[in-house]
Subunit: 210 residues, 2 copies
C-alpha cells in the first residue's frame, strides 16, 4: 500500500485527487489538508510515502512547504502540482527538494503512472516541464567563457572591480598607481565595448570572465 498525503487549498480539487488516488489499487490516502503550515509534523505523524503538494496556496506556498518538509525529512517523495508551468516556480520547487513537477491538467491515468514512477525513485515531469528544465539547464553558461582577449593584468583589475573595489582600492590592492588602474580600466572598457564600471561588472559576471 502506497500512502499518499494531499495538500491543496481548493476543496474540489482536493476531493477529486483523493477520490482518484484512494480508488486506485495499491494506493491509500492518509490525509488531505488545505494548507501546508503543519506539513512537517503531519508527515511525521501520518508517514506517507508520497506527498502531493499544490504550489499555489495562500499563506505558506507549496515551495515553502517543501523546504520545511525537507528540513526534517529527506525520504518522502514530493510531487508538485501546479496550473502554470512557469519558469521560476519549477526552478524553485526543484531546488527546494521536490521529486517531480506535474501540471494539474495531467490526465488521471497518467497521474497514477507518475505516482508509481516517483515511488520507484523517478522524477516525473510533464513533457512541457521537462523541456523547460532542459532549456534552463542548457542556458547555464559553460565554464569556458569567452574572455574578450583580456590580458592577465586586466582580468585581475576586473576581478577587483567585480568584488566592489574603487579605483583607489584596486591601486592599493595591486600596488600600482591609480593612473595605471585608469589605464587598465580604459583598455578593459575598449575590449568589452562598455563605458562604465557597472557595465563592465555586469558583462564580466554574465560572461563568466572572472
Amino acid at each position: 500500500m502506497i500512502k499518499v498525503l494531499i495538500y491543496d487549498d481548493v476543496q474540489e480539487l482536493r476531493e477529486t485527487l483523493e477520490l482518484l488516488v484512494s480508488t486506485t489499487e495499491g494506493f491509500e490516502v492518509v490525509g488531505t489538508f488545505d494548507n501546508c503550515e503543519t506539513a512537517p509534523t503531519d508527515i511525521a505523524v501520518l508517514q506517507p510515502d508520497i506527498v502531493l503538494m499544490d504550489i499555489d496556496m495562500p499563506g505558506l506556498t507549496g515551495i515553502e512547504g517543501v523546504k520545511n518538509i525537507r528540513v526534517k525529512n529527506q525520504d518522502v517523495k514530493i510531487l508538485m502540482l501546479t496550473v502554470f508551468d512557469d519558469n521560476k516556480n519549477v526552478f524553485e520547487a526543484i531546488k527546494a527538494g521536490a521529486n517531480g513537477y506535474l501540471l494539474k491538467k495531467t490526465n488521471p491515468t497518467r497521474l497514477i503512472e507518475y505516482l508509481h514512477e516517483v515511488y520507484e525513485g523517478g522524477a516525473p515531469m510533464n513533457a512541457s516541464i521537462a523541456t523547460q528544465v532542459l532549456k534552463m539547464f542548457a542556458s547555464i553558461p559553460s565554464p569556458a567563457g569567452s574572455n574578450f582577449n583580456l590580458s592577465e593584468r586586466e582580468k585581475e583589475v576586473l576581478q577587483l572591480l567585480v568584488d566592489g573595489n574603487s579605483y583607489k582600492m584596486v591601486a592599493a590592492e595591486m600596488d600600482i598607481s591609480i593612473d595605471t588602474v585608469r589605464s587598465h580600466i580604459r583598455n578593459i572598457y575598449d575590449k568589452l565595448h562598455v563605458n562604465s564600471k557597472s557595465e563592465a561588472v555586469a558583462k564580466a559576471l554574465k560572461h563568466k570572465i572572472v
Copy 2:
C-alpha cells in the same frame, strides 16, 4: 509518418532499433549510420523528424554529433541513447542541445512512447536520468529567493543599473526625476548593504535578484 534517423556504431543494435521503429505504425526509418561524421549533411538530405543518437561512438562522439547538428538545424528532435546514465554525459548532451536522454535498456513499448513524446515537443528521460537532472539542478549555486526585500520599483531600478544605465538614463527610462532615482538607489544600497553601483550590480547578478 514520423521520419527517424539512427546513429549507432554497433551493427546489432542499429538493426534492432531499425526493425523496432520501422515496424511501428506511423514511423519510418530514413537512414542508419555507424558514425555521425556527416550528420549535419545527412539530416539536410534525409529531413528526419527525430534523430536517435548513440552517445558512445568511436571517432566523433554522439555529443559532438549533436553540437554539429545544432549549428545547422535547431528543429530536428534529438534523442540520446546510452548504456550508462553517467552524470557528465547527461549534462554535456543536454547542453549540446539534445531533446531527451534514454537508456538503451529502455523497453521497446516505452521507447516508442518516448519517440511520440519527443515528436510532440516533450523531453523524454528515463526516471533515473530525470532524477539525476533534478539533482544537478538542485546543486546549482542558489538563487533561492533572496530578494533582500526590495520593492518592485527598486527591482526595476536595479535591473536598469544592471543593464548599464546611468542615473540619468534610468530617470528617462522610468519617467521620474533623477532625484527620485537617487532615492531609490539609496534604499537599494541600504537593503543590499553595498555602497556603489558596481557592487549593487555584482550582488544583483550573483544573487539572481534580477
